[in-house]
């Protein structure tokens, strides 16, 4: 029999549609703006405290939708997005230091849908506001830093073996040490090559100009760079978590870039300062009067550039050895940072201070910055922006070692409590293994986000309406089939995107609109073909059958090529373009399903295996 589907096909279609419906439904329940309260001491906040916050919110005219407790945290849902910031400040004020207050977006999906672990699509930054950063990791600096550390260790090794060296120099991926005689150089080479197998060694010159040149192997360079990126990712994730942002994203992009997205963040300046901070600390001994100048460096004080001190080049420990840090005030009310070191750091610190009681120890604050300068090409007059990285170092304290230091101590000499708090946060979340620079930034205000959603939804609705009318007028009964398929296509598209956890962006909405326009294409092809077969004198049932059959290859070929383009778009695109590519690809797949299978099922159910006198097409 022509135009009949076996039962399993109807069931398959039904199952797909039901699943699609379930997973697309949560999108009808938008997330609530909320503030999240958790106790600073780790226990649960009392109901009475929450009620105090609620009544304070109401006094200030902020409508509270609901409050609930989950995993020891309280969530207060608000009615309006704009109230979120002031609600946080009010809650902060009410609870004082007892609680940590963070902004949040609370899911509003009903429980029975959550049981299917269905959740709404994530909205992109352009739809909900927030900041997007693209950070470039300075790989050259990562290498230089590693070589400096190695140089420092080699110098110590040579000193302990009483081999005299003159100068060490780091350039690119090579490290060279100058010696006064060839014998010194040769014994140094034996010694160093045993402890540092990652280098390739060459001896240059002889006698008074002899030197040892060590080059990092390609593999080691790759390892160092991978390590730098991964370490930076971890550090940035820690920092972003400290900021208390709902659904942040920190991701590697390409060989040396990192994307950070902070949705819903309104105070972008603070966010940028924390994310981009490259501050680190170094603890060094002050140089003695008799220390050779090759081993010393002069640094000025951060808050008093006239004062300076002569420091050893060797670093005892860096901020990387800090396991925890917090800020407080000393007896005189000046800001300070309390530091706890990890095991290795503690041992190193102890060893260095034990033998140097009475000497001064310096805390050096290091910040990697970059400056963009516009360079005008004298020949063409073309302006290019050149980024020049530079390092800012300044002493924050120089204090006499009274006794051997252990795992915990404190540092003072900071300008303000804010600086102390930020330094503590940075030390706590770990320092960056290599300096980073902002290469791209996108800030979308919350009002623009809301506007974009509104406009996007509006254009989807109008677009859909126009297509529906067109199809109805042109294909009558078959137009109804195509329109039902179109609605199901939209449902499926939304469902698949929600299931994949894809992010909906403005270009994504444009992709949906475009897919709707193109989705009817397959049906148009089929229906035109059916009309044609009818004109050619085929019977109604045969015409329907032939129409679907013959249009099939065209539809598949046309859609596969479009899909290929969409996949390429996805692989080269960044941010907004990716969103468009994702919607387009999914839309092509779902539209093939609805246009081929679903309309066929409807046509078969209506006309299949029964006598039909006239086809309203």
């Amino acid at each position: 029999m022509l135009n009949r589907y076996p039962l399993w096909k109807y069931l398959l279609i039904l199952v797909v549609l039901v699943v699609g419906l379930i997973y697309s439904l949560p999108n009808l329940f938008p997330e609530d703006p909320a503030i999240q309260l958790s106790s600073a001491q780790g226990d649960t906040l009392e109901l009475r405290q929450i009620q105090r916050v609620e009544s304070a919110l109401e006094e200030n005219g902020i409508a509270v939708k609901a409050s609930e407790q989950e995993n020891g945290q309280w969530l207060i849902r608000l009615r309006n997005d704009e109230d979120q910031l002031s609600a946080r400040d009010i809650a902060d004020e009410q609870l004082g230091g007892d609680a940590t207050v963070a902004l949040n977006l609370a899911e509003a999906t009903p429980g029975w849908l959550q049981a299917f672990s269905a959740s709404p699509m994530t909205l992109g930054l352009d739809l909900r506001g927030g900041v997007h950063f693209l950070l470039e990791v300075d790989m050259d600096a990562a290498l230089t830093q590693r070589l400096e550390v190695n140089a420092s260790a080699m110098r110590e090794l040579l000193r302990s073996e009483r081999i005299r060296y003159r100068n060490t120099e780091v350039e690119g991926r090579t490290l060279s040490i100058d010696f006064a005689s060839s014998e010194d150089r040769d014994s140094a080479r034996r010694l160093i090559s045993r402890d540092f197998p990652n280098f390739e060694f060459t001896s240059e010159g002889s006698d008074r100009s002899s030197s040892l040149v060590m080059t990092l192997s390609d593999q080691t360079v790759n390892e160092i760079q991978d390590y730098a990126i991964n370490q930076n990712l971890t550090t940035l994730r820690n920092r972003v978590n400290e900021l208390g942002v709902a659904e942040p994203m920190v991701q590697r992009q390409g060989p040396s870039q990192i994307v950070v997205e902070l949705p819903g963040v309104q105070d972008t300046v603070a966010a940028k300062r924390i994310v981009g901070a490259t501050a680190n600390l170094e603890f060094r001994l002050e140089a003695r009067n008799d220390t050779p100048t090759a081993e010393t460096e002069t640094h000025v004080f951060r808050n008093d550039p006239v004062r300076s001190a002569e420091l050893m080049r060797d670093v005892i420990i860096t901020g990387d050895s800090v396991s925890s840090a917090s800020n407080s005030f000393d007896e005189n009310g000046r800001p300070q940072v309390n530091i706890n070191l990890d095991g290795t750091g503690g041992t190193l610190m102890n060893r260095a201070t034990r033998t140097n009681i009475g000497r001064n120890m310096a805390v050096l604050f290091i910040e990697h910055k970059s400056e963009d300068t516009v360079v005008v090409d004298p020949d063409t007059g073309e302006e290019t922006i050149v980024r020049e990285p530079y390092v800012e170092r300044g002493l924050i304290s120089l204090a006499t070692i009274q006794s051997a230091l252990g795992n915990s101590f404190r540092i003072t000499g900071l300008d303000s409590p804010t600086e102390a708090a930020e330094l503590a946060l940075l030390l706590r979340s770990g320092s960056l293994a290599a300096p980073i620079y902002f290469v791209q930034e996108r800030t979308i205000g919350p009002s623009l986000g809301a506007e974009n959603i509104e406009r996007g939804l509006m254009s989807v609705q109008i677009g859909l309406l126009l297509v529906v009318l067109f199809m109805l007028i042109r294909y009558k009964v078959f137009g109804i089939f195509a329109n039902v398929a179109l609605a199901l296509n939209l449902t499926l598209l939304v469902a698949v995107m929600s299931m994949l956890g894809a992010t909906l962006t403005l270009p994504g909405i444009a992709g949906i609109v475009l897919t709707l326009g193109m989705a009817v294409d397959a049906n148009v092809l089929i229906f035109e073909r059916i009309r044609e077969e009818l004109r050619n004198g085929l019977s109604i049932q045969q015409a329907i059958h032939a129409g679907y059959e013959r249009a099939f290859t065209s539809i598949v070929d046309a859609n596969i090529t479009t899909l290929l383009v969409a996949v390429i778009l996805f692989s080269i695109g960044t941010g907004p373009v990716k969103g468009f590519a994702v919607t387009l690809s999914i839309g092509i797949l779902t539209s093939m399903f609805t246009a081929l299978m679903v309309t066929r099922a409807m046509v078969n159910l209506t006309y299949g295996s029964k006598p039909v006198k006239k086809l309203w097409i």
Partner: protein, 308 residues
Amino acid sequence: MKPLSHLQIDFMGRRKLAFIVSALMLIVSIGAIVFQQLNLGLDFTGGTLIEVRYATAPSLDAIRQLMVESGFRDVSVQTFGASTEVLIRLQQAFDPDVGSDVVNLLRTSGESVNLVRAEFVGAQVGDQLRDQSGLGLLVALGVVMLYVAFRFQYKFAIGALVALLHDVIIVVGIFALFQLEFDLTVLAAILAVIGYSLNDTIVVYDRIRETIRTSRIDDMPQIFNEAINATLSRTLATSGTTMLVLIALLLLGGDMIENFAIALLIGIGVGTFSSIYISGALLLPLKLSREDLIPTKKAIDEEEEELP
């Protein structure tokens, strides 16, 4: 017995005219791209862009003056969409606080100013993106050509490629001619145009192939005419619905995707024309013959057996 809707237009007979029209459009487009150059958006050039919203329409000159007096270089100030929304572009080096600095500066005149968005793109990101995009376009064209050559025959692939290049060049040319801003979303639109126009072309090609196989005549122009006429109502219907939604998107979607919608509208218009005329008519100078399609016949038949 043919209904009135079933037109028989002699497309191939007028192909010379179509080629001339296409050639003219291509010359104008290439000329515009070479001499006027594209007005590349921030994504590709790098720089800083700040969009602010005023309560009442401000004077652009006053803003410009204020900015220059405060030491910002190469400032461009223009309204964006509504007269109360102002777009400020700076060739300024990046500084994380520049967005709030500018807003604070503008507020000093006592007006209510809100930051709508701020964007910064580093120069090297722009360069990188430009290279990547060009490469992406080439890869897309290459892959599509291979697919068409595999499914049809290499002469079809050449025809499809020329038609696609034709569409892309004209869309880019119009953007250069009218100095519309060419940003990442426009690039996405152009890739979508490639997909779309190819879609059209393949439907026509599919029909040409079918007609060649089923008809007994050897007169290629007549076969092409039949195939194009048979798919004409479909081509126009699909382009029509897509253009309807695009017009909705253009009018309602907001300023941020305006250029995206324009690029797609032009692209689909040109793409429809090229799939009717260029891609089909190009097969004639390429001397497509029935023999060209015989080797692929078996493969196609095998696939059709797998149909549900």
